[in-house]
Structure formats: C-alpha cells, structure tokens
Amino acid sequence: MAEPSELSRYIESYVDSSSTPAQQAASLDSVGCLVKSDSLTLEVLVRELQMYLTTTDNVIRARGILLLGEVLKRIESKPLGSANIHTLVVFFKDRLADWRALRGALIGCLALIRRKSVVGMVTGTDAKAIVQSFLEYVQVQSLGQYDRKLSLELLDCLLERYSDVLASLGEELIYGICEAVDVEKDPECLMLIFHIIETVGKLYLDPSGPNTNFVEEIFDILEAYFPIHFTHPVGDDAHVQRDDLSRALMAAFSSTPLFEPYLVPLLLEKLSSSLHSAKIDSLRYLRACSSKYGAERIAKYVRAMWPLIKDIISTYLEDPDFSFTLAPLNGFGPSKNELVIEALSLLQQLILQNSNLLVSLIIDDEDVNFCIKTTASYEKYNNIPVQEKKKLHCVGCILHVMAKTSLSFCNEVFQNHFSRIMDNVVSVGNLDNPQNGEVFPSERVKFGLLYLCIELLEGYRKLFSVSEQYVLEHETCCTELHRFSTPLFNAFCSVLALSNEICPLDPEIYVGVKGLQILAMFCSDVFPVPMLIFEDILKKLMSIIIEDSNKMTLWEAALKALFHIGSFVQKFDESEKAMSYKILVVEKAAELLSINDINLPLSLKVKALSEIGMTGKINMLTVLQGLTGVVFANVSDVCASRNSRSFETAVQLLECYSCKLLPWIHENGCSEEFIEQFAVDIWAHAGNCMDFCAPFEEKGLLDALMKVMKVSVASCSVDSQNTIILKAYTVLLSHTNFQLNKVERMPLSPGQYDISDRDEWILSLFASAIIAVCPKTRIPNIRVLLDLFMIMHLRGIVPAAQALGSIINKLASKSSSAESSSDLTLEEALDIIFCTKLWFSTSDMLQRTGANGSAMVITDLCLGGANDRLLQINAVCGLSWIGKGLLMCGQEKIKDIAMIFIGCLKTEEQPLDPLVMKCAADAFHVLMSDSDVCLNKKFHAIIRPLYKQRFFSSMMPVFQQLITNSHPSFSRSFLYRAMAHIISDTPLIVILNDANKLIPVLLDCMSILTEDVQDKDILYGLLLLLSGILTNKNGTEAVTENAHIIINCLTRLVDYPNKTLVRETAIQCLLAMSELPHSRIYPMRTQVLRSISKALDDKKRSVRGEAIRCRRAWLVT
C-alpha cells in the first residue's frame, strides 16, 4: 500500500497550478503507476481526491477531475468491476454539466467508453446516459480547439461502439450532432466530424428509415467543405493533410444514398469549375458515390455526365507517344495527367454499372461518329490536322476503356460498326477476296481508323485476359473478329509497307507493328485467331528482322513485338503457338547466325537472337544450342584457316554469351546443365583445335574464351565446377607437353619444359577456370599445378599468377582444414610457393639447365638474385597477385611479401634497374585496387572486411620511416609512387583520421608524379582524394594547418598539360581552399590569383569556367 502522505503529495503537486508541467506530468505518472500496479485502489484514490473533486474553487476542481480522468485513461486495460464503472460513469456524466471542469469529464468519459469488454466495459444504458448528458450540457462549438476535439472523439467513439443503444435516441441524437459539428474549421476536428457523419449516414440514414428529414441539414453542413480548400503548408506539424481530409469527406458523402439528390448535381457543377482540385475531387467523389449509391440512382445522371467526362479527357489528354519502346503493352501508355486518369476510371465505373446506357450513348455520340468519319479520309498520321489528332486520340482512349470493361459494348461495336470501319479501312473488293500476304495499295489504308482498331482490339484483348467467366466463342464480337482477322492482318502489313516507302515514320510503324502484336496475343481459348494468321504474323515480323535492318525504328519495333509475343506465348502456355513460335522465330533466328549472304549486320543478328532467347527458358535453350554450334564451327574455322570473319563472329558471340545470356540464365533460374556443358565443350574443342594447328594468333579470341570460361565457372554450383575442372585437367594432361607427373621432382627446373605457344594458351584458359572456382571445389593434383603455375608466371603469363593468387586466397589454413575438401592446406601451399627452388641458367633463362645454373627461391628472384631483369619483373608481378590473394583473406604472410617489394625499392648498395623498381611500386596498386579480372566477389574470393584499412595502417609507418631515411635520389620517387598507390585506394575516412600527417606525404607524391606523363591517372586519383579531404569537415583542421603547402602544390597543377580533369579538379580544390579562415589564406592570395589568371586562358572551356569561379572567390578574400 502506498503511503497516504506520498499519494497526497503527488495529488497536491498535480493540482497545484504553480508547479511546472514536467512536475505535474511526473506526479500523474506516479499515481498512474500506483494504480496500475495495484498498490493503490481506485476507491482509495477517489477518497483521497474527494476534496479536490467537490471543492467550489473552479481551478482546483478542474485539476482534480482531470487527474481522475487521466488516471482512468492510463488504466484502460486494467480490469474493473461493473459497480465501479457504473459509479464512475455517473460521476463523469454529471460533471459534463460543469463547463468549468469539462476537460477532465470528457477525458474520463472517453477513457470509460473505450474500455474493452474483457476488462469490464460501460453498459448500454450508461452509454445512453452519457450521450444524453452530453447532448444536454455540452456546447461543442463554444469550446476551445482541444476540448472540441475531445468532445468529438467522445461522440465518435460512442457512435462506433454503442450504435444500437443510441438508435433509440433518434432525432434528438442527430439534431445534437448537427449542432455540435456545425461551422467547424480545425482540420483535426473535421477529420472526426467527417467520420461521425459517415457513421451516422451508415447507421441512421436508411432510405426507408425515419430520419430522412435530417438529410438535407447534414448535407448542408458537409457541402460547405467541398472541395476541400486547405492552406496549411505541407511541412506543417499538423498531422492532417489535404488528401486525408478529402478522403474522409468522400467517405462521409458516400455513406448513404440519400445524399444523392443533393450531391450529384453539386459534383456535376463543380466538374465544370475552373479549379483543378475541384475537378479532380469531383471525379473521385463521383466514382466513389457511383459504386456506393448503386446503378439505379446514378443512371439518371449518366447522360449529363458523359459530355463532361468527354470534355475533360479531350482537354487534358497529352499528345500520344508513338515510341514503341516505352510502353509496349499498355495501349498508348497510360496518360500521365491525373485528371484524365480519374476521368477514365470514372467512365469505367459507369460502364460497369450502366453498361447498356453508356454503350448506346457512346455509339450514338456525335463526336465519336464524326471523328470516325473525318479521320477516315486521312491516310497518314502527319496529314491529320492537330485538332483532329487530339480528338482521334481521345476517342481512341474512350474506346479502349469501353472495350476493356464491357462485353456488350464489344458485341455492339463489332456487330454494327466494325464492319463499317473495316470497309473504310480497305476497299470492299479486297474483303471478298482475302488472301494472306496480299498487301493493299497503300493509299487505301486509313491511319486514323487503324489506330482506332488497335485501341479497340487492345481493350478487347484485356477484357478477355482478365475475365474468364465469359464463354466467348459464340459472342458476336468473337465471330466478327474472326471474320476480319485476315483483312486486319493485311491492313497492318500495308501500313508497314507504306512506312517502307517513305522515311521511317514512327506513328505508322507503331500502328502496324502494334496491330500485328495485338492480333498475335489473343489467347487461343477465348478468341481463336486462326493459327494461319498467327504464323503469318510471325513470318511478317521475322521478314522485317531479316530484311529491314536499314530501318532501325521498324527493326527494333518488330523485335520488341516478337519478344512480347514470345513471352506471352510462354506465359500462357499455349503449346500449339509455342511450337510455331519456336519453329518460325527461334530456330530461324538461330539459323541467321550461320547465313552469311543476307544483309544483316552481325551485331543485329546477335541482338535479335538474345532478345528472342530471353522470352522463355525453352526458347533460350534453343537459342543457346544454335549459338553453341555456330561458336564452335567458327572457332574451328579460325584455327584451321585463320578466317578473320569467323574470328569476329566467334568473339562477338562469346561476348554476347558471357555478358547477356549467362546473366539471364542465372537470374531466371534455368538449370545450369547447359552452362556446364558449354564449358566442357569449350574444353573439348580447345583440345581438338589446338592439336592440329597453331593456336589463333589474335589474342581477342583467347580473351573472349577466357572470359566465358570464368563467368561460366563462377555461375555454376560446386558439383558442376568439379566436372568442368576435371575435364579441363584431362585436356591439360592429354593435349599439352607438360609432363605433370614429373613436375614433382625437386628442385624444379623451368628449363625442363619446352613450353610452346599452344601450351601457353591452354594453360591460360585453364588458369581462368581456376580463378573462378568456389573455395570448396576440388582441384586435382593441386601441388603439381602450383608448380606449373609458378613456372608459367615466371614466363610472364599473368593469368597463371592470378590463378595462383586465387588458389592461395581460397585455401583453408591448417586450423580449419576439416571443412576443406582440398588435400592441401594454405601453409603447405605457401611452402611450395616460397621454398621451391627453381633451377635456371643465367645465360639462357628458363630454357635449359646449364652447368653454371643455380637454384633459388622466388623471393631471391624478386630481389634480383638471378641477375636477369625480365625474370625479376615477372617474379615481382606474379608475386603481387599472390600477395593480393593473401591480403584479401587476411593472412599475416602478406607482410613478408610487402617487405620483399619494399626491398626492391630501397637500394642501399647498388641501384636496381628502374623498371624493376617501378614494377615493385606498381605491385602495391595490384594489392590495393579492386580487380574485375579475378579475386572479387563474383569469382568467389574470400574477402576479409576492412583488409585495405589494415594494410594501410601497417604499411604507413614503414614507408614514412623509409622515406625520411632514403637519399633524395630516384629511389625516393619510387617509394612515393608505391605510397601513392596505397593512399589512393584506401577509403577516405581512414585517411581523414590521419589527415594532418598524410597531407604533406600526399603532396610530395603528387609533385613527384607530375614528372611523368604516364602517371596522370594516379595523379588524378590522388587529387580526388585531396579534394575529398578539402570538402570534408573533418579534414578542415589539417587543411588549415597545411594550407601553404597545399596551395603551392595546387598552383603548380593548374597548368598540368596532360589531363584536363587534373587541371579542373586542382582549380576546384583552390576554390574550396578559399573558404578557409581569411587570416590563414590571405598571404597566398596573390600567388593563387596569378596562377589562376593563367588558367583563364586555358584551351578547355570547362577549365576556363572553373577558373572564373575560382578567381571570383579569391578576389573577394
């Protein structure tokens, strides 16, 4: 039990008007907690509060009642006995009469009413008593905003939960509500009011009910708010927005059909208002009301509505967009104008309800008929006057919506009008003698009518695709359409023929291709377009693909149409159509590749093939099979005869396979069988090809093959990868001169192998497969392969080094070897790489073992032990890839490797070859940069988070020390170069932490890199980093400190001749510098202005522009 003194202290503090709001809230919380935790019963609280609840001091009484109300609000979910509730209801109900203490009473009532039945709720009679008391005493409109809101909430809640009890109050209740809600202006209260009226409308305003005499009164109250005019700014903290209000008002209006005689005329009137929001709202309300009020009540307004809707559509509809690529499936693309969208959906709603009435309205409509008649005389889109075009489009839209919604409309139109339209489209003579493929003389085809046909057909098609309840075969529209399918096909073809004659006109192509596409895309079970026509359409489109490659718009449109037809056929599982699609389109497209005498560029063939393949898995498979055949035929051809044309074909097809088709296969979840098979086939062909001929001389083909191999292997599962690798390994064994079993003999002697070019190609291909495997894939005879790659990379074959890096990266170290399927641990592999002695002769490297040869490990080679420059460079370059593999998986060994590179850079005794030093410096670029060739996420590399940061922070101290100790000779410049690589690939945020120390180094790097033209890209990278530091607020301090040297460096770069971007960025950096504290930069002002004035005369415009901006900024400092 709480101490009574404690309780009274809380109460006192809450009631006391001199305590702060925070104190009051805290004491209220404390009391609430006491009651909630049962340490204080309500009885005790009320007894304690007695004096406060009944005192004659208005302020104290109000606070006291408020406290009780607030406490009740806090215990809404705490069970209370019915007696207690009753007592509380009686108390609060009476207090509603006390206008000075009203807020507490309202909160208390609200809290009681909101209680759920499981915790004890207010009984019906009590609720009724509250309402009566409320209606009698509370003058809502004379209260403040918050109290009004509370009152309305109470009313709303009562109506929601006790509607059945309250019904007996009848007129009294409705009258009271009307009084309470009149002339409200606050948005939050309005939301409540609209909801209250919605409830009232639903419950009490039954058309047959007794309260109908209030309808007009309530409507008068609501009417004033339409359309909602809301001036609060959007970012206001009020939670209510205009749209919320508008929706709530709409719900109120549509709550009862009794509003109809008042509302609909109002809405129709506002529809022709000039206010945009009034129009939109009217359309929305009309739609909502039509669906709520029912067809009968709305029917009498339809005649009045129709011209208004038509007017809005024709006024606000944008010009049609005839580009085929944008909206291939949705008619002319849904209009973007809000008004048009709303008008069309209202129209659709009306059609659903009063279909016959509207159908006759539209069919007899003068405008529509006039439009059909006038446009009949125009053959080409461009001949139609602008006004007519607009009308045409408007009618098209309306017909589309109608056909989409109503079957009876379709029947009617096709029965009575379609033949008329068709007669006008083409001459009657042709109709009697319809022959496929016959093209009408082009001047007889009327564009406007065909356009209407498309809109009709498209709508009609949609009607069928969404509704399955119709049995359509015997419907008039069906038979009519069936009858006309041939003339339609011919008409569309002749529109295309027309477009062939003149320059490619978009609208004509659109209508023709689109028409063919729609005809082909009717489901065969609802509207059996004859198979013959379907096939003709496919043939026609394919003939465009084959013959019309010089008209790109037409060609692309046809390809798109074929794509959509194909996807449709696949999606709806129409086996018969799928079959003919496969024969007529897919196989034909695949054949195209091997036909050389047609006038279709290879790139377009490939494009067509890939698009068509992407229509479905089965088609993709056909395409892939075709592609495989052609690829291998061409590859063999290249090997046999060095045919440059075959070479080009093979490379392009391989590109297409790796860049377009493989990702699609991967995304669409096709089985990877094919990918696996393709990779294995490549190996088989590679083996065969290279057996009898010298390998392809052009490197492009090998690169393409390697890319395909990598991507294929990477996208396979471990099992398939195992198969591919095994196949590759057998090819490697059987088709090369490597004697793999002999390799194991130590020490290794590269000269033992006579490595031909052919072996080199095969090994590169093999390396590319190894690069892409998962860590779990088994690599056979891995020890020997490591040796082999070691030797190959010393010969300068980079893929071999990359493969070594990948293998090392994916090997598990000893501790976790349990999960590894490989029989080699990381430690062993490193041992092989770093401890294997390589034999070579000094005179003739890697060719044969000589007596004067010596053996040494790779680290010695890097440091120049062999005294052979090329060998050393190859060793350094290869080691950098191995190092990258180690670095990414976070091995400690990387430090040793880095030290080897550094060893190459610092020359204490005799200077090393500059080329070797440069190579060693660039090795850091390999280590730090992201490569897309190997060792990335796509190729399953193990990447440890933050590896760059770690490497950066471990290397920086070493470099800084080295640089200070080194002689100011060229060795320092290489150290700076290496450092530049590390810095520019490190994330900016790490650099910022250490900016003060790094900026001088960075600037030194930059000034050294300006000397050589080839270093312009590294220089640019560093400059970007510097600009990052300058613009980041964490770097400001360091920049201010080093302002002088930064400006010195930047002013030198302002006229850097080799890269425009460097100049531009340097000037931008200077601009950023001008924002530093005035006292710091003022001394440099003259220097900057002088150097900038040189840039004002730069030969690049962009640089001049930056210079002007920069000079302006510095002039005012």
Binding site: L1096, K1099, R1109
Partner: protein, 155 residues
C-alpha cells in the same frame, strides 16, 4: 539630388535557360565563343533596376562577336532608352568584369548598338578610351556603383 529614374518602366523579359554544354564531355572545339562571354556577363545587374542585363534585353548572345585568332571581342549593347545616362555605367561594368576574368591578351571593344542612343559617338568614344576608363574607376562613387552591379552575379 535625385532626378527620378531615367527609365521608370523598363520592359522585363524572361531569363533564358542556360545552355548546358555537358552533353559532350570532350568537345572538339573549345575556343572562346560568344556564348562563353554572354554566359559570363548576362547576370550583371542594371544600375537602375533589380534586373539583369539579360532580362532587360540590353545584351543578347547575338550582340557579341569574338575573333579568337586576332584576340578581339566586340560587345554591342542596347540601352533601354535613347537618352540613357546609365549607358556609360553599363559599359564600364562590362569592361571591368571582362578585365578581371578574361585573359588580358584580348582586345575588348564595347559599343552601344547603332541608333540606340542619342549620343552614340561620344559614349562609344568614352567607353573605349583607356585613360577615361581608368579615371572613371578612380571615382569612388562610380566604382561603388560598378561593384554593386557586378556583385549580384549568380556565377
């Protein structure tokens, strides 16, 4: 002593969109052209009104000619009214701005367009006389006015 505005109700035209040249990142012809200069001076404020020279149609792209080989720039501007005494101030603004932000090897000629000013010859002479320009810029009031006009620039 204020005599009132010389042209109290000038016709204000819309600002035109700046033509973006970013479409071609490596334009082949990067020589200075009239648009460069126009972009650069169009935002100079009129000495009398809070509008730019572009908005008042005092300047247009066509009124500027550049000969990059000879290094000559000719700007012809049209004062809003014939007897505009501000013509010399506008000319001075143009000259000062070009002097600050354009390479010094260009010879800049500034003229009022033929027939647009009552005292055309003397204005032209005044604007292209080095001594008089220098002297004008030593006048603190004039200098302040010029700088005010230049400072409202958007660039």
């Amino acid at each position: 002593m204020t005599l009132g505005l010389i042209n109290a109700n000038p016709v204000v035209h819309e600002k035109k969109e700046r033509i973006s040249r970013s479409e071609d990142p490596h334009p082949t012809d990067d020589a200075v052209d009239p648009l460069d200069i126009y972009d650069f001076v169009r935002d100079i404020r009129d000495p009398e009104h809070p509008y730019s020279l572009e908005q008042l149609s005092v300047l247009s792209e066509e009124s500027i000619t550049v000969d990059d080989k000879l290094g000559r720039i000719l700007i012809t501007f049209t004062p809003t009214v014939q007897h505009c005494s501000m013509a010399t101030v506008i000319g001075l603004c143009l000259r000062v701005k070009l002097k600050h932000f354009f390479p010094p090897h260009y010879k800049v000629d500034i003229k009022v367009s033929p027939g647009s000013h009552a005292d055309e010859v003397s204005v032209n002479k005044q604007l292209n006389d080095k001594e008089r320009v220098a002297a004008a810029l030593e006048n603190p009031n004039l200098r302040e006015l010029v700088e005010e006009c230049l400072s409202s620039n958007e660039l």
